[in-house]
Amino acid sequence: MKRLFALNRWLGWLTLSLLAAALWLVFTAPLDYQQGNSVRILYMHVPSAKMALFVYIALTVFSAWHLWKKSETADILAEASAPVGAAFALVTLVSGSIWGKPMWGTWWAWDARLTSMLVLLILYMGIIALRNGIDDPIKGGRATAILAIFGAIDLPIIHFSVSWWRTLHQPPSFGQASTGSTITGPLLPPLVWMSVAFIFLGTYLVILKAREIRGRRILENLETERTSHA
């Protein structure tokens, strides 16, 4: 794990340069034929939404790995994933709301996509609260892992909500029409670059958080040892 932490500094710089390049594309992209400048919110909203889901997939894998192999590393990575995923889910909901008010005419609609995304944010918060609510860290880690695995049922619901049910939220822009993507010409590259930058950003943040958690656990173990000797 230590080697991973050492590499993370470089990952941070790489993320920063990718974000800078992507943002330059975002602000030089042409206006949308209907939304004008508001289309730029998409470049924040869609990558965050993807990351909120990706981080949850990672969290589920770490949780399963922890339950199966009793791996401390997996438990640390699972604990680190939850707040990062929650942040991405929150950014998704807030940026969507800011877009929705002028474009749709409402901050919020209880349609299937928005509701299932809100459930994901609540799940993340429940996972964080459950770990903090149980005093025994081993029990807490296991209970959290079980909750996380059950919660993964929300992922396909979010993904397919716009295809299964008629929603106010627009249907997917990829993999539906025969043309490939419904995001046309120069409006597409900023989304691709932002998505890549956000994948790096999410990885960087999870590793950064894991480092803090590992340090804290080592410190806590030393404290218990010290008090038991005294």
Partner: protein, 149 residues
């Protein structure tokens, strides 16, 4: 402190499983459909009379009429197969335009113009540079009609 923490934990878990449960339950009962099309609502006859409904489709090109000096508008919602005349008074969202998607909410009175209390614009999944407007309008119409099926 300890009791507070436990209470907080139980409350959080209740909210998490409550909302998940509600979502799954409503998906089975079919109310997760955010709006109905004119075809669907006209087929209900009088069974939904007086109920609050959401009706979605496209603002038919050439149907939007603004009453001068007021915020009153009239337009027709179309799903390609059936049309429904709508009246509304108030502000409309930025994306509310002829040929674009719309969701109107209000009490359903069969046989009369639909008196919308709320108007929401529905955006299609198309993102198109402003230089290609003409192509965009044609494509968004196509994808909107597809999503209404």
């Amino acid at each position: 402190m300890q009791a507070n923490r436990r209470l907080f934990l139980i409350l959080t878990l209740l909210v998490v499983f409550g909302s998940l449960g509600a979502l799954i339950w409503t998906s089975f009962t079919g109310s997760l459909v955010y709006f109905h099309t004119p075809t669907e609502i006209l087929a209900t006859g009088t069974s939904k009379a007086g109920q609050k409904v959401r009706i979605g489709g496209m603002v038919q090109a050439g149907s939007l009429v603004k009453e001068a000096g007021t915020q009153k508008i009239r337009f027709i919602i179309s799903d390609g197969a059936n049309q429904l005349p709508v009246r509304y008074e108030g502000m409309t969202p930025d994306l509310f335009r002829e040929g674009q998607g719309v969701v109107a909410e209000g009490p359903w009175q069969p046989g009369q113009d639909f008196m919308a209390a709320t108007i929401l614009a529905k955006h299609s999944e198309d993102y198109i540079p402003v230089e290609m407007s003409a192509e965009g309008i044609a494509r968004s119409k196509e994808s909107m009609l597809r999503s209404l099926q």
